[in-house]
């Protein structure tokens, strides 16, 4: 019966593309592309495939549309059974109490290791799976499912009998054994709770075959919904993606005919497969109160794959130990990778997509963070990037008590003004409340900030000119030039004044800066020049010109140039 059904499906012509091999390649639509990456992840986890991503794509593209469905039918279920089982295993804990001896604890740890061994299967060869009939495939899946259940019972039963197992499932009313006994296929995915076959009333003990039937119908016939005369069964709505509206709940959103999965064939063949794999590339990060699912997207499959893989490795190894800001960790990896390729096209088309979790079937706090073109251009310059890639203390004291730090690159990527952080850091330096001494990051941040301020001013009221301006290519050069100016001014100020004089005027200058009063600022400096008994006329001449050109005549960003002079007094 099943096999017949499958043949029927192959007869359906999907807009004449049925005989064409599905091309596994990025579409430029992040939503579908995340699914493609998830699909690759599932395939890699279950099958023995080429290691190199390019070879892997070529290899997968050799399979026909029909074969891909066969492969994913098996892989998807096995992958999720494994994933869910591992989740169940990690959630299984002993009750905290005096009764439990060290010995029991040790036994429990050993049992966990045994179960983990049973869950981790040996990878299959795709051709072996393709040679199986659907019934045989189902048998294989169910055997694996039963084996895990058996191992759970065998290894945890003792603890369960002694009432040692903690109730950590279904709002703390069930132990893992009770959960295993209740569920059919060990498959839980928050993202697809709306899918019929994952509904707890369907996916229950002794109902495994029905679950497989419904899933089969979804993979081969694209039927997302239950049979119902009023609704298109192939509908593309919240059932298959949390990012969409529900067709029943928001019927008035769809003014015309609601989109169905076959319509998506315009973008990619077998869209439902990729939609089903959508959540997998998201990295789940949770530590203390922090909960995030993140995914980095860039329209280049190769780069996207590599970055997400690297990210996963690093997050597993570094983050748990160091407690580094996740933002810093992720963007550092991205920027390192991209600057190696020296491609601002990729950088400016890169998005960090994150959501906190799923509650009552809705995504929480979804956020898209990208790098604007201007920032991407600037970051690709090595010396600027290295200088911005530093932490600045903005609060607290030398002992580190109540201290607060910012990562300059992060603020820059987020398009926030840097000046406010630099002035805070400079004030800490003046009051000797920080041990930070490096000047270069401060001066580079000031010149970058100055440039962005002046660009913002020039393109006021003209949204797009910033992105199409030819001047953009000159930006890096201009930033470096203004850095040179600031650096020289800062050095000259430092050489001109004695330590005593420096300390005397610094506080007045900072207070003039805070009040945004440039004339008071200039007044203090000019008076100090006059009061010098011995002065190098060349230094005074240079500073005189610097003040006239960059402060007196400058309304846009004089503060940046002025602060660079104060830096010379530190």
């Amino acid at each position: 019966m099943r096999v017949e059904n499958r043949e029927n499906v192959s007869e359906i012509k999907i807009k004449g593309r049925n005989d064409i091999n599905p091309e596994i390649q990025f579409t430029g639509n992040w939503f579908i592309d995340a699914g493609i990456l998830g699909f690759i992840q599932v395939m890699e986890d279950v099958y023995e495939l080429p290691n190199d991503i390019n070879d892997l794509i070529v290899y997968l593209n050799k399979f026909s549309d029909h074969e891909i469905k066969d492969l994913i039918y098996y892989a998807y279920l096995v992958y999720n059974i494994k994933k869910t089982s591992l989740k169940f295993l990690s959630r299984t804990q002993l009750k905290k109490g005096k009764k439990i001896s060290l010995e029991t604890n040790e036994k429990f740890t050993k049992s966990k290791i045994k179960i983990k061994k049973a869950i981790n299967f040996k990878k299959e060869y795709p051709n072996e799976i393709l040679s199986l009939q659907t019934d045989e495939m189902n048998k294989k899946i169910l055997n694996y499912n039963e084996l895990i259940k058996y191992e759970f019972r065998k290894n945890f039963d003792l603890f369960n009998k002694d009432n040692f197992l903690k109730k950590t499932f279904s709002n703390n009313k069930k132990t893992s054994i009770e959960k295993i006994d209740f569920i059919g296929l060990i498959f839980e995915e928050q993202f697809f709770q709306n899918l019929y076959f994952l509904n707890t009333s369907v996916n229950k003990k002794n109902n495994e075959m029905k679950v497989l039937d419904i899933f089969y119908d979804l993979i081969y016939n694209l039927n997302v919904k239950k049979e119902d005369k009023t609704i298109d069964r192939k509908i593309f709505d919240k059932t298959i993606s949390k990012f969409m509206f529900s067709v029943e709940g928001f019927s008035n959103v769809f003014y015309g005919k609601p989109t169905n999965l076959e319509d998506l064939n315009r973008i990619i063949v077998n869209p439902h497969i990729f939609l089903l794999c959508f959540p997998f590339p998201f990295l789940n990060i949770s530590k203390w109160e922090y909960r995030k699912n993140i995914f980095f997207y860039t329209p280049n499959l190769n780069v996207c794959y590599k970055i997400n893989k690297k990210l996963k490795k690093k997050i597993d190894s570094i983050w748990s130990d160091t407690g580094l800001s996740i933002f810093k960790l992720t963007w550092s990896i991205i920027i390192d990778e991209i600057s190696e390729l020296n491609s601002y096209f990729t950088l400016e088309n890169m998005y960090l997509i994150e959501y906190e979790g799923i509650s009552q079937q809705a995504l929480l706090n979804v956020e898209y963070v990208g790098i604007p073109k201007l920032q991407a251009t600037i970051i690709l310059d090595d010396s600027i990037r290295l200088s911005l890639n530093s932490n600045l203390q903005i609060k607290g004291d030398k002992t580190g008590k109540n201290s607060e730090w910012v990562w300059v690159l992060e603020e820059f990527i987020k398009n926030r003004p840097l000046f406010i952080y630099i002035i805070k850091n400079v004030i800490l330096r003046i009051n000797k409340n920080t041990s930070q001494k490096a000047i270069k990051p401060i001066l580079y941040s000031l010149s970058v900030d100055a440039k962005i301020k002046s660009l913002g001013k020039n393109t006021k009221g003209d949204i797009f000119s910033r992105y199409f301006s030819l001047e953009l290519e000159d930006v890096v050069f201009q930033i470096k030039e203004s850095y040179k100016l600031m650096n020289l001014a800062s050095k000259n100020v430092s050489n001109l004044f004695s330590q005593n004089k420096k300390e005397k005027i610094t506080h007045n200058l900072i207070s003039a800066m805070k009040r945004q009063n440039k004339h008071v600022f200039v007044n203090i400096f000019l008076k100090s020049f006059l009061e010098l008994s011995q002065k190098d006329p060349n230094l005074v001449k240079h500073l005189n010109n610097y003040i006239f050109n960059n402060i007196i005549q400058n309304e846009e960003n004089w503060q940046n140039y002025a602060l660079a002079m104060i830096v010379g007094l530190l």
């Binding site: 004339h519 008071v520 200039v522 007044n523 000019l526 008076k527 020049f529 006059l530 006329p537 060349n538 005074v540 001449k541 005189n544 010109n545 003040i547 006239f548 007196i552 005549q553």
Partner: protein, 108 residues
Amino acid sequence: MESKKSNTLLSDDLWKIKKYTNNVFKKVGSDNYRQKIAYKLLNTAKISNQSEFFSILLRALNTQKTDYDVKKLAEKLQEIYPLTSKNFENVAYSIIMGIMAVKSDGGN
């Protein structure tokens, strides 16, 4: 629109004012005199006292009123006068910096 125009003009003129002042004070007095006058001007500019500022300046220029650069400077000041408080400060500091630049430019 009008204010934008006057702002651009002013920003262009600041450089000229500084240059003319510099040329004038190359020929006026000693280092000590220039230092003294710059100090006085800085004090009046600080409190935005326009009349006192120009009084000090014009008294200093009066001794050289037939000089070409003095005429040019006077013309420029006449052209941009009257000044808003903000513009006055910009003009005042350009003049002061013009005076202070004399020594380093190798004046008397």
